[in-house]
């Protein structure tokens, strides 16, 4: 591949942003095909969604960069650096990192759904960073598509001419050839000086066992090469890159990355703490004076402890978290211990999907078996002595006598919906303690409903319920609003007479009986049958509010094992064992992961 460096005016750096499922990854597929970046026989649907988890869930989790070479109608070859981004709210930090490596964004909108919450949220992120926007209406092949109307919505939103909005079908390839010319025409080339001191922004990273930390770079000024002393400006760490390269989308080494380009360097660094997403790379000699703006770490919404099922895996978990954090800069963690679960880490997540993905990735990528404790939001506790503390672990709630007031986080939410569903969505928000603020007609198809609502009420099921009530057309965006006082208390759960700290939750006092009995009922369902009688109790303020007994283990006096068919016997036993992953022994009883998550689903 050419290394002389493309003239800047023939480079475009752009990402593809949209609401979830509007077709970003599918559009990327078509662009990769069109430019011949990926050979036909290696093509799969959503080829950039390369993680197993992404394929299983059918969503993008990680932003992915890829370099394409494109011969334009002016006869010139262009270097196009594309970044496909995730659409789910829990991963919007991925979008904001990707945006800062780009000058422009393709904004994809589903022709049947129109503009939705993350269309707006991601668009505003891009506008904030002063990016050029290329609007594209996708899925025009669907019978219910209304591309012209959606193009008009876009005109109102971003002020482009509706006729200029591209209308494509990423799935069928219709009008795909119009996309890259629009990118070249409407997105400005990068600025920056190849001869200036090196400044490159680390916008993502991952850990490679052989090459150490791989830092994904957007070079702003200068040139970066292997075997040249480099400096990480915020950690002051000096190192030499083992390799520089580009994403194709797999990593391909090249000689150098120049101003305006996107690629990676293999840092060789084995201690992951020294290399952080958001840091600026420069040369040790004659380096840049000022670092680039970094990233503000996002604020976690939910917190939970993560513990190894096997206590011996604690160190392995620590290393896994460090390495995963490289690839997921929004993950935060600190050590914590639990009487029931031993040594683990308190982690902060951007939402429950994020929590689920982190646990899955730790388990799959680092071969661990883990238990996550009941998720909690972060409470503010005003103590009698005037001190205010933040509590994200129910176990850290001070004694009631020391508490003046507990405050819970409230969110400002905006629900976007077609007008037909206003009634049912109002009802949904108000039954969850939501306070109506206002309603705006964005156009005839779209209404924005705003509420203030406690975070704990929207954490679980709210989004699913919203989708169900609006036949999939409603969408949701939220930001933190304020802390408000509430009559809250801690509910503890005792298994076999022993309190299991990791099962504690903070609840509203007037829900104690209701939640307590729902809790023990749920525990009884999910804790596997035991040899002996095991009581489960829920207690508030030392008083038992509900109890139940775990089922006793089914006797299984053995059946005849026929003529040496040991394989069948083993498979039957394997099936019995299947359900045994993600179980943590507490005293005599094994508690499965579902038990810790049960607190989220106490309503049914």
């Amino acid at each position: 591949m050419s290394t002389a460096g493309f003239p800047l005016e023939r480079i475009r750096n752009f990402c593809i942003i949209a609401h979830i499922d509007h077709g970003k990854s599918t559009l990327s597929d078509r662009l990769l095909e069109l430019t011949g970046t990926i050979e036909q026989r290696q093509m799969t649907d959503q080829v950039l969604d390369s993680m197993d988890l992404e394929r299983e869930k059918g969503i993008t989790i990680k932003a992915k960069a890829v370099r394409m070479l494109y011969r334009h109608s002016d006869g010139q070859e262009y270097e196009l650096n594309l970044i496909d981004t995730p659409g789910h709210v829990d991963f919007s930090y991925e979008v904001s990192h990707a945006l800062s490596a780009c000058e422009g964004a393709i904004l994809v909108v589903d022709a049947t759904q129109g503009i939705e919450a993350q269309t707006l949220a991601n668009l505003y992120l891009a506008i904030d960073k002063d990016l050029d926007i290329v609007p594209v209406v996708n899925k025009i092949d669907l019978p219910s598509a209304r591309p012209d109307e959606v193009a008009e919505e876009l005109e109102k939103l971003i002020g482009c001419a509706a006729e200029e909005v591209l209308q494509v079908s990423a799935k069928e390839g219709t009008h795909i050839e119009s996309v890259l010319p629009a990118v070249i025409a409407h997105i400005r080339p990068p600025e920056g000086e190849t001869d200036a001191p090196l400044r490159a922004l680390i916008f993502d990273s991952h850990y490679d066992p052989y090459k150490g930390v791989i830092a994904y770079l957007r070079v702003v000024d200068g040139t970066v090469r292997a075997a040249q002393p480099l400096l990480l400006m915020s950690s002051d760490k000096v190192f030499e890159a083992l390799e520089t390269g580009i994403f194709h989308p797999d990593m391909r080494p090249i000689d150098a990355l120049h101003a305006g380009e996107v690629g990676y360097i293999a840092t060789g660094l084995k201690t992951v703490r020294e290399c952080r997403v958001g840091d600026t790379v420069t040369t040790q000699a004659d380096g840049a004076g000022e670092p680039l703006f970094g990233y503000r770490p996002p604020k976690p919404m939910v917190f939970a402890g993560i513990y190894p099922v096997d206590n011996d895996d604690y160190q392995a978990l620590r290393e896994a978290l460090e390495k995963l954090q490289l690839n997921d800069a929004s993950l935060i963690y600190e050590p914590e211990s639990s009487v029931a679960l031993n040594q683990g880490f308190r982690c902060g997540f951007l939402g429950l999907l994020h929590m689920e993905i982190v646990q899955e990735r730790l388990e799959r990528e680092y071969n661990l078996d883990l238990i996550a404790t009941s998720p909690s939001v972060e409470y503010q506790v005003l103590k009698r002595n005037g001190e205010t503390i933040l509590v994200d672990n129910p176990e850290e709630l001070p004694d009631e006598s020391a508490i003046e007031e507990i405050r819970e986080p409230w969110m400002h939410i905006t629900i976007y919906t077609p007008p037909d569903y206003i009634g049912t969505l109002m009802d949904l928000a108000t039954t969850r303690r939501g306070e109506y603020i206002r309603m705006d007609y964005l156009d005839e198809h779209r209404v924005a409903l705003e509420f203030n609502i406690p975070l704990s009420e929207i954490l679980v099921d709210f989004h699913d319920e919203l989708k169900a009530r609006s036949r999939g057309y409603g969408s949701l965006d939220y930001t933190f609003s304020s802390y408000r006082a509430a009559d809250l208390t801690k509910m503890t759960v005792l298994v076999n007479e022993e309190p299991v700290d990791a099962l504690s939750i903070i609840i509203h006092r007037d829900q104690a009986y209701h939640k307590g009995s729902a809790m023990v009922r749920k525990m009884k369902e999910v804790i596997p049958p035991q040899m002996f009688k095991v009581p489960i109790q829920a207690a508030v303020g030392g008083k038992v509010v509900a109890r139940a007994n775990v089922q006793e283990l089914r006797k299984d006096v053995l059946a005849k094992c026929y003529g040496g068919d040991i394989t069948r016997k083993r498979k039957l036993l394997e099936k019995q064992k299947e359900g045994k992953k993600r179980m943590k022994r507490v005293g005599k009883v094994e508690i499965p992961q579902e038990a810790f998550m049960a607190v989220l689903k106490l309503e049914d």
Partner: protein, 393 residues
């Protein structure tokens, strides 16, 4: 397992024929195929000849002819076949030769022919001494037939008899089960097996269970019946050596022998996860590395062997670690349990360390006893053995 390097193995021969089909049966057995008895025995012989070269370094110390109901084959035909088989295989001088029989198919003359051919052990499917229980299983024989058959076996000179009994039968009560145990013990068999009835899908009994109430004893009741068996058999001097199996000691036997003298040598090969060669329809084999199973289709079996090809339909090989797990899963069925040194010798894996967490957990629950020598089920675990065994697969 001390015997892991021993070059002995078991030979299993499956005879897939019965007079009628019992209502709970999902074993591979066919009714009304008398016409293929001889071709089938011929095919078995061919399979044996195809297999023998690869098994030439082993010595067989047991031959088990099971089914189905081997004794539906006319006695002289079956005896000839067994005699010929024994003549073909490398064997120990005291090879255990067992034939499975149903009470209604045994008479003194038949037993005599079998003994003359080298058979020295009979396993008789009594199941119950209650005519009503037998009827509800669709078993053809009556309790009287069982007494007659056993008496015939004794008078023909058979000195090693095993009886199969079943618990968990429709309408079975503690008193009918007690009667079954007592009447069995009165005959002083050398060996007893007690299995639980399971409703296998697509059997007439399973269909019946869907439409009517079968009055099956529940799990608790089965555990109670099993406890009764443990007590009665222990009192009568039988050693409980495997979850479902009891045996008498031999007179000359030392008191600290690992298993009672009349323990089924053939089945010990299974529980020790040792080699066995299985011949016939739906027979399984294990050569120490690979397991395979033969086709379940009688006509296919005959056709394939008529072309001198092997009738294998499934096969799997296990890694060392998987094989270790399997050896533990099988070995823990033995009340004597498994021994660390034997496992290490055989797999070069420290099983105790590998399963430290499982062992600690099961010990805490009082299901497993582990010490410097090995590990074994605790008495309470006998009722929930799958719970323990599943931790190791």
């Amino acid at each position: 397992m001390r015997s892991s390097h021993r070059q002995t193995a078991g030979l299993y021969i499956h005879i897939p024929f019965c007079d009628s089909k019992c209502w709970y049966c999902d074993f591979t057995s066919f009714v009304g195929r008398e016409g293929v008895f001889e071709p089938y025995l011929g095919a078995l012989r061919r399979e044996l000849l195809l297999r023998l070269p690869a098994w030439s370094q082993v010595t067989f110390d047991s031959l088990y002819v099971g089914g189905g109901t081997p004794t539906v084959i006319p006695a002289s035909l079956l005896a000839d076949f067994i005699g010929q088989t024994l003549a073909l295989i490398p064997k120990t001088h005291d090879i255990e030769v067992t034939v499975e029989a149903n009470p209604s198919t045994l008479d003194e003359a038949a037993v005599r022919k079998l003994l003359d051919a080298g058979v020295n052990r009979l396993s008789i499917g009594v199941q119950s001494w209650h005519s009503e229980e037998l009827a509800r299983l669709g078993r053809r024989h009556s309790p009287q037939a069982a007494s007659v058959a056993i008496a015939a076996a004794h008078s023909a000179g058979c000195t090693n008899i095993s009886l199969d009994l079943m618990l968990g039968l429709p309408a079975q009560t503690t008193s009918t089960w007690d009667e079954t145990l007592q009447r069995s013990l009165a005959l002083q068999p050398e060996h007893l097996s007690v299995y639980t009835l399971t409703l296998e899908p697509d059997t007439p009994l399973a269909h019946e269970a869907q439409t009517t109430t079968l009055d099956l004893p529940d799990d608790e009741r089965c555990a109670e019946l099993y406890a009764m068996a443990r007590n009665s058999l222990a009192q009568a001097g039988y050693g409980h050596y495997e979850l479902s199996n009891w045996a008498r000691r031999r007179q000359d036997e030392s008191a600290d022998a690992r298993y009672p003298g009349f323990a089924a040598r053939h089945n010990l090969h299974y529980w020790h996860n040792e080699r066995y060669l299985g011949l016939g329809v739906a027979a399984f084999s294990f050569d120490g590395l690979t397991r395979w199973g033969n086709t379940c289709l009688l006509d296919e079996y005959l056709a394939v062997l008529s072309q001198n090809r092997l009738p294998v339909s499934e096969q799997e090989s296990l890694s060392g670690r998987e094989a270790l797990g399997e050896t533990i899963m099988l070995g823990l069925r033995l009340l004597d349990g498994v021994y660390w040194d034997e496992l290490t010798d055989r797999y070069a894996i420290d099983a105790r360390a590998l399963y430290a967490r499982q062992i600690a957990g099961l010990s805490a629950e009082g299901l497993l006893e582990a010490d410097a020598l090995g590990m074994r089920l605790m008495p309470r675990a006998l009722y929930v053995a799958n719970r323990v065994l599943s931790e190791f697969v």
